[in-house]
Symmetry: C2
Subunit: 310 residues, 2 copies
């Protein structure tokens, strides 16, 4: 019998466990806190493993990230070397993310944040909306989740630009690369969308200096990681009126503490990290497809580069 | 010199007037309240003309409706007979309407009304969202604005059904017809969208009996006319929990009075009739194209049927 150790939230453990068992009858699925003999485990399938824990497993074939981002694994200073880290990105994850970003982009584009405020004041004040083709959307990051999102925004008629670290372009979209072109990119963003991976070079990237380069009245959507954003700089940019609104799905501390200033802010929309929750059913299917292929001696296309961070 | 009388809101009169003048150099553009010799006017281009006024114009070639709906003209009991009523539906109007409906549908689909309430309570409670393909959207009305909207919702992956008075089908969409099939249609609507014209047979159509046929937890989007909806029946359906939320862009009295119960309702989103405002620039272009064609002796495709009401 092979063994697989699973670390997911307790409220979804049973769902994940039975979904995996259905696909991998030769595997014993172990709860993360009930692993007696770590060296006998082939796969650690994890979301936010505690630092130091993964190195206890001496016989891992791979560490499987149950999220598109792998920062939750790479943050471990004692991460075992020589074991591939593989991430699971299934299509439902991609669909949900692109749908969430489109929802929030349309919402900001149509001025719904302003109408919501007017409703609280019982104020009737019609205003024209510019066409989507005149709304400049800037997406930072163009990876497995970013690219389909970019296509979807463009298909909805928005004028989409992309900024990414690497030098490769995306067909049909205006692409900016590296730190030198960041300013030009930002200067034309009515709505800035962060879909970056969290790495050493993107940590805290959305700071005062970056926000100041956006045009006055711009808005922000963050679906990357909370650590991309310097929270106090965002609050300052909203207070000054330089930024109009922000939609945040991720936070540097989750759950967001009840006394956090973001909750009651008039120009901030908060969702509890639900932009693209991985579904246990479809997630387990994608995970097990990887494991079956690895056990059959095939290479995975989803191994991340530790040095790059994604 | 030909003459055209224009009735639009005072805040947009100058824009409309100069946009029309640019396209029709042979026409004198008269403000609705400054027409000295009504019989010398060829075209009355109107939004909500006062009852009895249009019959003062003895030489009209056509009455031009500056809105997709023509209920604001047909309501006049003294409407002159024998003059064609032509409506202006330009593409920007269509784009805006389909964009607005998509925005609100996605917003409800992703449970944003629930997250907004949780934010007010500083409550962090993640939840899965079902895929768009499992969300059943029902659109009532499939006219010039409805059909492109239906296509757009379907392209976003939603499961879309349509109910319309007439018997003709729409390719690729499940169509229900007439009063006999209304119940079957309603029974499968997670989100009901009203895009009907306002006529004698659709006045007050969204009443208690209709709402009760929706599944528990359904939501409503009304972008038709306020008079389609029995407001007290909507409030009752929301109070009882049978309906979850409503997004309303149109009201039986506009502007919505400041003391109206809708404003402060937790489960109602209000926008001030902005789903598809007609843009003076593009609207004037479409209007003038019609007038030039009519003056050249061509038939218009946009003459409405008075008896049918659209």
């Amino acid at each position: 019998m092979h063994k697989l150790a699973l670390k997911v939230g307790d409220h979804v453990f049973a769902q994940w466990s039975s979904a995996i068992a259905a696909h991998l009858p030769d595997y014993q699925i172990l709860h993360w806190n009930e692993v007696d003999d770590p060296d006998s485990v082939q796969y650690a399938c994890v979301w936010q493993p505690e630092a130091g824990r993964l190195r206890e497993f001496g016989g891992l074939k791979a560490i499987m990230s149950l999220a598109a981002g792998t920062d939750h694994i790479l943050i471990d200073p004692d991460l075992p070397t020589g074991v591939p880290i593989i991430r699971i990105v299934d299509n439902t994850l991609v669909d949900r993310m692109s749908e969430y970003v489109l929802t929030q982009t349309l919402w900001l584009h149509r001025g719904m944040h302003r109408f919501a405020k007017m409703q609280r004041q019982a104020k009737w004040k019609p205003s024209f909306s510019i066409p989507a083709s005149q709304r400049h959307i800037g997406v930072m990051g163009a990876g497995r989740l970013g690219q389909p999102t970019i296509r979807r925004l463009a298909a909805s008629g928005f004028d989409v630009s992309v900024w990414r670290a690497g030098s490769n372009d995306i067909a049909g979209v205006r692409c900016f690369h590296g730190s030198l072109q960041l300013g030009t990119f930002l200067g034309n963003c009515d709505i800035l969308i962060c879909m970056l991976p969290l790495t050493n070079s993107t940590h805290g990237i959305i700071d005062r200096a970056l926000l100041e380069q956006l045009p006055t009245g711009a808005s922000l959507i963050n679906v990357g990681r909370g650590e991309h954003l310097i929270e106090s700089d965002l609050l300052r940019a909203l207070e000054s009126g330089h930024l109009e609104a922000a939609v945040l799905d991720v936070f540097s501390g989750e759950p967001l503490p009840p006394d956090h200033a973001f909750w009651a802010h008039d120009n901030i929309v908060i969702t509890p990290h639900i932009a693209s929750l991985i579904d246990p059913e479809t997630g387990a299917r994608a995970l097990c497809r990887e494991i079956v292929a690895l056990d059959a001696g095939q290479q995975s296309n989803n191994v991340i580069c530790r040095e790059r961070g994604y």
